[in-house]
């Protein structure tokens, strides 16, 4: 894949990120909101990988090291994002299940116990 410019990947990433933001704003189901967060994380992952491959020279901070380690940093970030997302999903879904067991309802607009 040599013919596709960097901007194409970034544009797709931006679009997916926007979809995630909009979903978090307008949906009420906490599970769907969670999925929208995953969508945003993945948009960022795509951006990381696109930059890692095309790697504009200005993006390399001075002192990071040779070309190779600078290319790898993008991929490493993606691995860490994936791991953090997995941990987040395990805990988050556990919380949603606990809330559901407590209130038998998962509408996010009605979770206002702390409103006082």
């Amino acid at each position: 894949m040599n013919g596709v410019p960097l901007v194409a990947y970034l544009g797709l990433g931006l679009f997916m990120f926007t979809c995630g933001v909009v979903g978090v704003i307008i949906r009420r189901n906490p599970i769907v909101i969670f999925m929208c967060i995953e969508l945003m994380l993945n948009a960022v992952n795509l951006t990381f990988l696109a930059f890692a491959r095309y790697m504009p020279a200005k993006m390399i901070a001075p002192g990071v090291g040779p070309l190779h380690s600078a290319t790898m940093s993008g991929q490493m970030m993606v691995i860490f994002v994936m791991a953090v997302a997995a941990a987040e999903v395990a805990v988050g879904l556990g919380i949603i299940m606990a809330i559901f067991r407590l209130r038998n309802n998962v509408d996010i607009d009605e979770m206002n116990l702390l409103r006082g």
Binding site: N2, L14, I31, F100, N105
Partner: protein, 174 residues
């Protein structure tokens, strides 16, 4: 952008993958049914994995399928269905003014960020990384040398996540 650099089969392939991914992303937000949203997200993650392959990141692409579609999304579906089994009415979602406001906000975000960030990057069309930069060997070498400490910290984080989710899911013993 120099049109002579455009490679027609590659561009068409990218356009198809990106188009499906974008449609699926819209589907995640727009379907009122949570299971449909989850399925759209699965499709989106799949297309992202293929896009990672087109970026020569085969290790991360396959990890994307294993971690996201193979584990995380199955977990999502599992929880949705478990809650659905408990009370099928729990997922009725009203549509109101928030949809219009949210849509307008999203459009604004897209236009502002797109117009400010993307144009200066238009000139980058050349691939700079070597072809094997996404192979399991190079990813593993990097992960276990330069990034060893973050790797260990993330593994501890995952352990904490496991313990936390077990604590949350456990029924309280009276």
């Amino acid at each position: 952008m120099n049109t002579s650099q455009l490679n027609i089969p590659d561009t068409v392939f990218f356009a198809v993958l990106a188009g499906i991914a974008a449609l699926a992303a819209i589907g995640v937000v727009a379907f009122p049914n949570a299971v449909r949203s989850a399925l759209c997200l699965v499709v989106n993650f799949f297309m992202l994995a293929f896009l990672y392959f087109t970026l020569n990141c085969e290790m991360l692409g396959i990890t994307q399928i294993v971690v996201y579609t193979g584990a995380i999304m199955v977990l999502f579906l599992f929880v949705i269905m478990l809650l659905n089994l408990g009370s099928p009415q729990a997922f009725f979602e009203r549509r109101d003014l928030k949809w219009i406001g949210g849509g307008l906000f999203g459009l604004g975000l897209l236009v502002v960020v797109g117009s400010q960030v993307l144009p200066p990057l238009l000139k980058f069309t050349q691939v700079r990384a070597e072809a094997t930069f996404g192979s399991p060997q190079s990813v593993g070498l990097s992960l276990f040398s330069d990034y060893l400490y973050p790797f260990e910290i993330v593994s501890v984080l995952l352990l904490i996540g496991i313990v936390g989710s077990i604590l949350l899911a456990k029924r309280r013993i009276e």
